[in-house]
């Protein structure tokens, strides 16, 4: 059986076990909502269009937060390479912030930025910045000095060194960072939408929790996972186009990306 087939079979098997467990009646349908009940809740929300709205709102937040985090991470990583002296100023602070869970900042963020979109996006930025920053930084800083010498021998200036050697050389690490960062921003959506949201998948789950609708909670979880996977796929396709054939290069192999 091919890989795709095995993956699908695994999921079907899980669903069958789940269905069997709920039929067995050991747990009440409140503790373990049956697959058909969850599918029903999912279908109702899809049909009424509510779910699409939630997905759209969450996607928009994830996209905004992720983009800002990427720009910051890229700038930070590039600075670490070009101006290592400057990096020392923010290194300590970043090391500190890396150990602070974004959710612990919710109270302060609400005080400072209110309960609007800003606080939610900041949570996502905080969650996805570090994996991107660390990978992008590594990509820039660990560039092969021998390749840089080739550029110097051709009389390349700083800008050409960066755009023609450092940046393309760092592409695999940048893509890995972005991939991990995207996953982290999805995970952060629940935390972000804990802040007085009225839309979004995170809100959907928290609201269902308060209404004791475990089937809707499960439907929300399935949605987050599915949309996250879809995003990852889209990103993979874009990434592959961005690097085109370069992934065949030796330094670009086995990066876990392709």
């Amino acid at each position: 059986m091919n890989r795709r087939g095995k993956q699908v079979l695994g999921i079907i098997l899980l669903a069958v076990i789940w269905q069997g467990a709920s039929w067995s009646g050991i747990w009440s349908s409140y503790i373990l909502p049956s697959p058909d009940k969850v599918a029903g809740a999912l279908w109702t929300m899809l049909e009424s269009g509510v779910l699409w709205q939630h997905i759209f709102v969450s996607l928009k937040r994830v996209f905004q937060g992720f983009s800002i985090a990427f720009l910051l991470a890229f700038a930070g990583g590039a600075t670490a390479y070009e101006l290592p002296g400057i990096e020392e100023y923010y290194k300590g602070f970043l090391e500190f912030m890396r150990n602070v869970p974004p959710i612990s900042l919710i109270a302060l963020l609400i005080l400072w930025f209110g309960i609007g979109e800003t606080s939610k996006i900041i949570i996502i930025v905080l969650a996805s910045f570090f994996p991107m920053y660390l990978n992008i930084r590594k990509g820039f800083v660990s560039i092969d000095k021998k390749l840089l010498e080739v550029g110097r021998a051709f009389g390349f200036g700083r800008w050409r060194q960066f755009t023609r050697i450092v940046l393309p050389g760092a592409v695999p690490d940048i893509l890995v960072g972005m991939k991990v960062g995207l996953g982290y921003s999805w995970r952060a959506i629940i935390g972000a939408e804990m802040i007085a949201a009225s839309k979004g998948i995170g809100y959907l789950i928290l609201d269902a929790q308060q209404m004791s609708r475990s089937d809707k909670v499960a439907a929300g979880i399935l949605t987050i996972g599915a949309v996250g996977m879809a995003c990852d796929k889209v990103f993979q396709v874009i990434g592959r186009m961005a690097v085109k054939g370069s992934t065949k290069g030796a330094a670009h192999e086995n990066q876990g990306f392709i």
Binding site: K146, L147, V150, R152, A153, F154, V243, G245, S246, A250
Partner: protein, 247 residues
């Protein structure tokens, strides 16, 4: 290219080591000048100074202000994310392009032909053998249209037969391009095969110079004449028995 009174010192583990001590060398602008020396005698240092990759403590490398040098390192140092064609064009700022956007670059075409890489322009470095990678590195340096080629033991990592073949090809390319070449090696045979002028680098300076300009290529190293020269060089190099330690 005239190298005058070159001094260079390194610090290794808080110890000062004088690698080059007032080295003088004339590099002919279309012959092959070979600098021969043991491992660690400062050959690579000399080449790096000539290439402008390092600064001399004293002395200078004299050449015209618009003189261009192409460097070929011990390793091919190709960009793994570029095809062979794009690697060759790397120093020129041009791109080969792919598929339909592919532009025919005459010079690239000529270089591919010259270095025997025709048909491999779309291959990535990891798909090429060591010898072919080094050819691409040579083509990359030539594409830059340099006045001088600086070569740092470029064939040292290749097997015996590939090495011989590359030496023959280098002679062919030299014939076609007529560039001044400064070639650094520790192999006496290699020096005798390709050098117009062979200079022995020892104790931070050029100890002895052999003019082989009157011996035509291809040379038979087993001939009596070459054997005599080789013997002389070996004896000369054995005089100082100490092991060098500089890069």
């Amino acid at each position: 290219m005239k190298i005058r009174d070159l001094y260079k010192e390194y610090r290794v583990a808080a110890k000062r080591i004088q690698v080059l001590k007032g080295l003088n060398l004339d590099v002919d602008n279309h012959g092959i000048t070979v600098v021969l020396g043991r491992s660690g005698c400062g050959k690579t240092t000399l080449l790096r100074l000539a290439a402008g990759l390092e600064q001399a403590d004293r002395g200078c490398v004299e050449m015209g202000s618009d003189t261009k040098v192409g460097v070929i390192f011990q390793e091919p140092r190709l960009m793994p994310w570029l095809t062979a064609g794009d690697n060759i064009l790397f120093g020129t700022g041009k791109r080969q392009g792919r598929g339909k956007q592919k532009v025919l670059d005459r010079h690239l075409d000529y270089l591919l032909e010259l270095t025997g890489l025709k048909g491999f322009e779309d291959a990535y470095p990891s798909q090429l053998s060591g010898g072919m990678q080094q050819r691409a590195a040579l083509a990359r340096a030539l594409a830059y249209k340099p006045d001088y080629l600086l070569m740092d033991e470029p064939f040292a990592a290749l097997d015996y037969f590939t090495r011989n073949q590359m030496q023959r090809e280098l002679l062919k390319i030299h014939q076609a391009e007529q560039k001044g070449i400064l070639f650094v090696t520790h192999s006496i045979d290699e020096a005798l095969t390709i050098g117009n002028k062979v200079v022995i680098l020892e104790d931070g300076g050029c100890r002895k110079e052999y003019d082989l300009g009157n011996i035509p290529y291809p040379r038979d190293l087993l001939s009596e004449k070459m054997g005599k020269i080789k013997k002389g060089i070996v004896e000369e190099m054995e005089k100082t028995g100490e092991i060098g330690m500089f890069p």
